[in-house]
Symmetry: C2
Subunit: 356 residues, 2 copies
Amino acid sequence: SEVKKIAVIAGDGIGPEVVGEALKVMKKTEELFGYQFEFEHGLFGGIAIDEKGTPLPQETLEICKNADAVLLGAVGGPKWDNNSKELRPETGLLGIRKALGLFSNIRPANVFDCLKEASTLKPEVLEGTDLIVVRELTGGIYFGEKFRREGANGEEAVDTCVYNVQEVERIVRQAFEIAMTRSKRLASVDKANVLETSRLWREVVNRIAPEYPEVELEHVLVDNCAMQLLRRPSSFDVIVTENMFGDILSDEAAMLTGSIGMLSSASLGEGSFGLYEPVHGSAPDIAGQGISNPIATILSVALMFRLTFGYHEAAQVIEDAVKNVLDAGHRTGDIAVDKSTAIGTTAMGDLIVAAM
Amino acid sequence: SEVKKIAVIAGDGIGPEVVGEALKVMKKTEELFGYQFEFEHGLFGGIAIDEKGTPLPQETLEICKNADAVLLGAVGGPKWDNNSKELRPETGLLGIRKALGLFSNIRPANVFDCLKEASTLKPEVLEGTDLIVVRELTGGIYFGEKFRREGANGEEAVDTCVYNVQEVERIVRQAFEIAMTRSKRLASVDKANVLETSRLWREVVNRIAPEYPEVELEHVLVDNCAMQLLRRPSSFDVIVTENMFGDILSDEAAMLTGSIGMLSSASLGEGSFGLYEPVHGSAPDIAGQGISNPIATILSVALMFRLTFGYHEAAQVIEDAVKNVLDAGHRTGDIAVDKSTAIGTTAMGDLIVAAM
Ligand SMILES: CC(C)[C@H](C(=O)O)[C@@H](O)C(=O)O
Ligand SMILES: CC(C)[C@H](C(=O)O)[C@@H](O)C(=O)O
């Protein structure tokens, strides 16, 4: 089969460790399915600041642009937290999203049976929770004009939230498409009783909805959604929302599953190109100890296989291997009930590869 | 004692019913403590749209301005949901906040022992949860310029989020003051890694913090806060944040307590003036049936007594009466485990008055 180019951006903290295990899994699929991957590594985030003086070096961006997909570990850490804006890892993250046109962030939040108890929600409330947050990723208040100015009452700061019809259309259409492949329920989240951008958002959703008559659509105000996620998580299927609301709600949704160390995400643009990364962060407190959980990153590979390459069979093999290893009782420290029996990052990766 | 003027704005849905019970409680305190209240009723919200053609009639605003405090029921309902902006109840709500200078919204989220089971969170996680969200209420993206325009890619909508130093200072200072009366822990929530208004916010918080050396301060990013509220709710004491984030997080916090039908809120300006209202909405589905729970509104009176009038003893009497009635097993339908034993709005109000 065709050679697929993968840009590998390990990043900071536990990023390199978890990405290392994900690469082992990809290589195993070369063996099992005859795929061919060409990996190109790029510096990104804090390590790029240290070595290149910028969180997103031009070479890294080129590597990504030349690739079919990007695998990202995690970025950031206290070392860079007090840097000026241009020298912060997050600035690289926002930059890469914009530069690669990754307008859609897909975050599945589902419950792993073996982790049900890890949630702070009651198991009966969580039962059956399996939702996806589709977050707009290159617009809104994240990318609008920002500045300081002198106002009548002293210095003031301004952020601008902008959405145009086309930006809303493409993400909403994608959410409807995803809903069609699932339980066909879509919750569009906005604050249409206050924001003009939300009113535009809702107009576009209502205009597109008739194209998907099978999808049951509800409009939910963002404050209400923050509540309903807690009250009836299993009633949601696909949630689509703008950038800032999506940032908040996708984290809330991830946390309520109790499975945050296991959740993967995809950031997609036009066509099949995508950037894949675990939902968890760089966990600088445990970096370098070889105890981090590589499963979210490994599952991000499965997501890449499904969404970018259409390698559904291999994706299934990876997901099943993860499930089997967990069912056999193997746990990294973050998900182990009895910490003394926890295994390390490499051991977990090896077990998953062996189970494939 | 001095006559206190109370503006009473019953509003829509269950508003009039629950406010009716709260007024009985206030009258009882006249008897018990020799207070004198003068009640002036005003139309507001949907009913004002119907009767006066505007959600916030000038007379109502005058009544509020001439009062020492405002007691608000609830506003809104499906009847007005599709109205144009100027004819929607929410527009009245935003208008009254701005017109009365109510820059601070105080939302206690605590767990009522008898309702522990009502939460979707595990009881052991919820244990000891008792926090207050202090939300900035007259600034930010709610009140910045909003408009449509033609952009390069078709029509676009714009919202502007603006904060000046003085607006941040006054709310942050108030949050520190509140923290000083409690466990002296303050979480300031922002999105300083993305927003300019958040960077200003954080600068102001850090500048004021040394004035309160006893208060343990943490900065929490809004997405992380949405997670931490779920993971460790009892670790929060006072949370202070800007308008939009506060809207979302205060609802999340309220819902996780499981006590949303019991929670009161205060919106404060300069001086002792305040507007008090239950956190719950107008519940049009059960309006007029006499089955709504008046406790949140009654507890809003207690909050008014504490924050506007300094009537701490009477506030305590009200809070104790509520507790005793609940401990004796009386429940309205919304909080009854066995719905067949539920009592109505008036009966609950009478029992609380009798217990005072
Ligand atoms: C680091 C930060 C800029 C980023 C965001 O807000 O988008 C992160 O929270 C995320 O969700 O990927
Ligand atoms: C009705 C709406 C405008 C309002 C808000 O967003 O402030 C409400 O959600 C609230 O929290 O009081």
